[in-house]
Amino acid sequence: MPDQYEPFTPQFVDEQIEQFMPQPERQRQASTPETELVKDMHDLYREYAGTRDRVRRRLQEHMASRSRAEQADKGTVRSLPLERQPPKRNKNMYSIATSPVKTRAFKPRLALVAATLFAALLVVALTVVAPFMRSLSTQPNNPAAANKQTPTTVISQPKAVYIANSSGILKLDPNTGTTLKTYPWPNKLLYSQPGYTIEPFTLQMSGKLLFVGFKLMNSSGQLIYGGVQAFDTSKSEMLWDFEGQTVQNAALTLTNGTVYISVDHPDIVGRSLVFALRATDGTQLNNYDLPLSIEQLTVAGGFLYPMGYENFYGVNLATRATWHITGSQGANQGFSDLHVVNGVLYVSLYNNSTGSFILALNPATGKELWRTRAIPGKIFNFTIVQNVAYFGTDQAPPNVSGDNIGRFDAYDLGQRKLLWETAAPSVARTYAVANGTVYAVTQFPYAGGAVDPKLIAFTANHGKILWNITAGSQDYSYTPVVTNGHIYIATSTEPQYPGRQLEMVNQANGKTLWKKTFSSQIGGYVVVY
């Protein structure tokens, strides 16, 4: 009789594949047809994937050398690709190393060299001393706030809400959600190719300027460029844009009038380039070539902190000196979030076997100052308000029954102790804090999850849940923006159209006051006062 047993089911096929995957750390699994199959599939496709990556790299190198040859004809020479040095893994969850950042080797003309040297001397004179002195000081510095700080309440009346989607930048009436004006994307060569789509992934504001981080997708849904578009809200006009080649990742952050955008290295898999652009006109001020795939980018206190799941770097923006730590490697583990608060760099790190930690590091050297005790489950994101870290994990407290699959925690970073923990329907990903209340948006931790995303209000002191509504998106982490009495949050009602709605809810009870649907996914939104 044939074997009718079917261990792979549609609902859990992803998890089942992972369960049957060969895991050297685990005890050797009993050999069954399904474990043999999954192992062989991995072996077989790993060979294919290796072939694909090596040929892609060789093809890219060929194309890059052809570009260099063409550009050399025109009088400019691009840098040679750098070989990636894979970071070494450390048994103690992460390791630390320091080295200078590799710079791209340009070969400008002599006059340009002289001008650059002169400019560099000026810049060094202005910028080196302060961060260097900070790094020598035993007192923690007080760096500029990182861009990812949790928004706090603003009392004044908002004048407009701006959102970015594939149509462009839209200005909305903050009280009704009515679209007041659409500012379309510039009609440039690639942007306007049939089937090409611009997908914004973040919208950030500095003064009167808005910056949209976007990805340009081709008709097959593949990523062509990572870019940034600048928009002047006072003049209501697009100012400048910038594109960098990317195939997978792009991240953006703002600080002190400079926009930092990371894109994949055009020639080498697993490396990234970070470009520093002057916010007012998009002039490229600097670039950094880093040996990791950047998932998150933060700038604070004169340091650039690019974070990947497995590697985390600190780069002194003035001297380019760098340190790095290597986190737990493997699927679904490693670094997940960071914040710089009161001169301390806090990083969350997850390991499948031990759980999560928040590490407190010296932001200038990466040296560990202390760490929390092991926290059960995975911390995806966290926030810090008045020296208390709020975070959610994907593990409910013990003895909790029902549908709760997550937990909220509050951890006092000053006293280094857990203040409270409470069960949560799923895992908190973004936060806003106002008037002693924490507003968290939760997501089911894995794709295809059964729990809707929720916007949950809980008291900061005790973790008591005040109200919760279905809001946010299962596919995208939208941060709630709290104004005087209202909360703006992007949401999805239909899973196949994620993030196409923006709604304003009552801060006191979570009731929806208005909801507006857009033609494409919202990449980000800001409230302007």
Binding site: L37, Y45, R46, Y48, R52, V55
Partner: protein, 184 residues
Amino acid sequence: MHAPPGQGLVQQEAMADLYERYWFIVLRTIHQHISSHEDAEDVLLDVFLAALESDVFFNLVEQRQIAWLRRTAYNKAMDYHRRRARQPLLSLQDDDETLFADEERSPEKTFLKREEHIRLQSQIALLPELQQEILRLRFADGLRCKEIAARVRKNEGAVRSMLSRTLNGLRSLYAKPTEGKEYA
């Protein structure tokens, strides 16, 4: 080929795009004629370099481009055999069992494993293209069903069903035959 000014970048993007979409189809075509992974890899590169250097390739519509890639893959594979006939080389892969002493890599185990891989490979080759693509995205690219659904522009539920059905089907290759019966 010397591209007109400004066309170089567009062509490179188009090539990167084509490579991502068709590398596996081309590799499979090559593997039908060349069993060595290393040699197939070199031929795969040759095919895409030939496309990049071609005067006509980028003027073809997509279907013709795929046909061009397949035809060139076949021709290059034949070139490889002609070269190999003139300069016989011993592939490291053919001989690698002698390099490893540990039991898992003993000649017998290696041989059996390779046989198993060939059996699995030939079974996969019989699957419809979409199923093969889903397997490739899951195991080569490490994507989960949701991401695969976005790539192949199918409903996530359909991808889940197809993937689980395919795996259950392939699993039968490994199921031990019961007495008196033999499995295909």
